[in-house]
């Protein structure tokens, strides 16, 4: 299937549900405590079931008195009760092609690839994590960020001299003023760390099969 428009497959707030089997680049946001995001290349939506097979769930999990970033490859399904899934959006091929073209880190040896998934930043009064200063001036590969209602998946993030993250080659999914879901590609996004809920750097091991 090739799609040239972003397609909202499921939206709990706007009561949208488009039944069918879809494949492509799909982002699903969960409404759970860990505010996790699922990346997948497939989703099946029916009246009573939503199934994602072999997706990658990313978020923060509570571990004792700490919150730890995780990325977990698994099959996910919701039966009858869809309250814990906020939305699922399939990104258009045009945007994905732009995203592919913007990738550069394979040709740039000074990008830091983490082996295991780790939290770079977690904006929480109790479990606060902030490693931005530690990575100031560095280029980190495969960041995923949740910023208010939006999700930002980027090829790389650079921590600038102020300690703010700058995302390069980004896919952004979020809600506009009318709460409508939208997705877009941005070559560069500058974000103040105060508006960021969390940034997770995906480990290369969890991405490899």
């Amino acid at each position: 299937m090739t799609n040239n428009d972003n397609l909202v497959l499921f939206d709990n707030i706007k009561n949208i549900r488009k039944n069918g089997e879809y494949s492509g680049s799909i982002i699903s946001k969960c409404k759970n405590e860990s505010k996790s995001v699922i990346f997948s290349d497939n989703i099946t939506i029916s009246e009573d079931k939503i199934v994602i097979s072999q997706g990658l769930m990313v978020g923060f999990d509570k571990n004792g008195d700490k919150k730890i970033a995780f990325s977990e490859k698994s099959d996910f399904s919701w039966i009858d009760d869809f309250s814990s899934i906020e939305y699922s959006v399939i990104i258009s091929d045009d945007i994905m092609n732009q995203y592919d073209e913007g990738q550069f880190s394979d040709a740039f040896p000074y990008t830091i690839n983490l082996l295991h998934t780790a939290g770079l930043y977690f904006n929480d009064y109790k479990y606060n994590i902030d490693h931005l200063d530690f990575f100031k001036g560095e280029i980190l590969k495969n960041p995923v960020a949740v910023i208010f209602n939006g999700i930002c998946v980027a090829d790389r993030v650079v921590i600038d001299h102020r300690g703010d993250p700058v995302f390069y080659d980004c896919l952004i999914v979020g809600r506009d003023q009318n709460e409508e879901l939208a997705a877009s590609y941005e070559p560069l996004v500058n974000v103040d760390d105060k508006v960021v809920e969390y940034i997770i750097i995906l480990g290369i091991e969890s991405l490899k099969e």
Binding site: F39, S40, D41, N42, Q54, D106, I204, K208
Partner: protein, 409 residues
């Protein structure tokens, strides 16, 4: 306002500074020529272009005597086929390391950006851009290499060489730490053992099998067509059949080795084998230039002895004719116009569009007759006359009369 006479005098004065419009009478594959081709040869050029555009593979012999303009024809062809990778090689310079030298020239013509695009395109085809979980590019280099090898293996016999070449291509795109070494290798640079061992290779592209494999991959993947213009191909004939009458007093390798194992003969045979092997590269067109139809017959005979099937791709030779009389006038005018542009005095040409100053029609006709229409001889005569105008200190009228007498006009 300047008078006509003044303009002519000014032009003469400029010439007498030591500037000759006919400095060069031998064309080379290295120095670009902008003069273009004269009208009577346009049809000849068109027929080559048509052949190139309507065929995938062929070997086209072009026959023209010494100084007929075979090398000049390359530059005219290059201007016309600007959307092709047109590579010039003179056989005299490529007896040794033929594939390597062809590869180096091909890369020079193609450019490093296109090389990068092709390796990137290949790696993408082999799954380098596969998206994990719909988004993330995590290239599994081993998997990409294996897929690349499987895809190419049906076209290549030597598996070891192919594995090495696929290894370099994938390393170039997917391994940032060895990218520079891989690119140097792909550009045909000579490499030391340290750099080679980092790439896990035994040799650089000097090794003929590597160069051939890379040529085949690049030419077949290139979006532009590819043409090899192999000049002076008949220099191979004296190597195969040395002229005994001329070599009796000069050392000849056959004194040591005998005729059959004469190293020159072996080299010549190798060259022919390598050129014929290039026919296996899809989309590569080969143009061979030679001086006479006898040379063509001789080469054809030689290939027939090796394997008659190899003659399948040979086209009927095209004969490059000498100039006809009116070509001399056109050539003269074109050369002077180009010269006037170079010296920033195009006003002179515009002021006298029908004049052949400082020469005249009679002299040009005389040159044509003397040179028997051979372009190089014509250029040599023009060079000589202009040198006399520039350096002799004689009056122009006197020089003209002297040459009119010399040409019996």
């Amino acid at each position: 306002m300047l008078l006509y006479e003044n303009r002519k005098q000014k032009f003469l004065n400029i010439l007498r500074l030591g500037l000759n419009p006919f400095k060069k009478f031998v064309s080379t594959g290295e120095i670009k020529e902008d003069l273009g081709i004269i009208r009577s040869r346009e049809h000849f050029l068109e027929s080559i272009v048509e052949l190139i555009e309507s065929n995938k593979n062929f070997i086209l012999p072009i026959i023209g005597g010494v100084g007929a303009g075979k090398t000049h024809c390359f530059w005219a062809l290059k201007e016309k086929l600007y959307y092709y990778n047109l590579v010039y090689l003179s056989l005299e310079n490529v007896y040794r390391k033929f594939y390597y030298k062809f590869y180096s020239k091909y890369i020079e013509e193609m450019g490093v950006k296109v090389l990068r695009n092709i390796t990137s395109q290949l790696c993408n085809e082999w799954g380098a851009l596969e998206r994990k979980f719909g988004f993330f590019h995590v290239a599994d280099i081993k998997k990409v290499k294996w897929k690349g090898f499987l895809e190419l293996s049906k076209d290549f016999e030597d598996i070891t060489i192919l594995k090495d070449v696929v290894n370099v291509i994938t390393t170039h795109q997917l391994d940032p730490y060895k990218k520079i070494e891989a690119e140097n290798w792909l550009l045909g640079e000579l490499m030391d053992y340290k750099a080679l061992s980092r790439l896990k290779l035994l040799s650089d592209l000097k090794k003929k099998d590597y160069a051939y494999t890379m040529l085949k991959i690049l030419i077949e993947k290139s979006k532009l067509g590819s043409v090899l213009y192999l000049d002076e191909f008949d220099t191979i004939i004296p190597m195969i059949h040395p002229d005994k009458s001329q070599t009796s007093q000069i050392y000849d390798p056959s004194w040591f080795y005998g005729d059959d194992t004469n190293p020159d003969r072996l080299t010549a045979n190798k060259i022919i084998d390598r050129i014929l092997n290039l026919q296996n590269i899809k989309g590569l067109k080969i143009i061979l230039t030679m001086k006479s139809i006898e040379s063509f017959v001789e080469i054809k005979k030689l290939i027939q002895e090796k394997n008659p099937d190899l003659l399948y791709n040979f086209r009927e030779p095209l004969i490059l004719p000498n100039f006809i009389e009116k070509d001399v006038f056109q050539f003269y005018k074109k050369s002077l116009k180009s010269f006037a542009k170079d010296i920033n005095y195009i006003d002179f040409i515009e002021a006298f569009p029908d004049s052949y100053f400082p020469l005249n029609e009679k002299i040009l006709k005389g040159i044509f007759t003397k040179a028997r229409g051979n372009p190089r001889q014509i250029t040599k005569y023009l060079l000589k006359i202009f040198n006399e105008i520039i350096f002799s200190g004689k009056k122009l009228e006197k020089i003209i009369i002297e040459y009119e007498n010399e040409f019996n006009l």
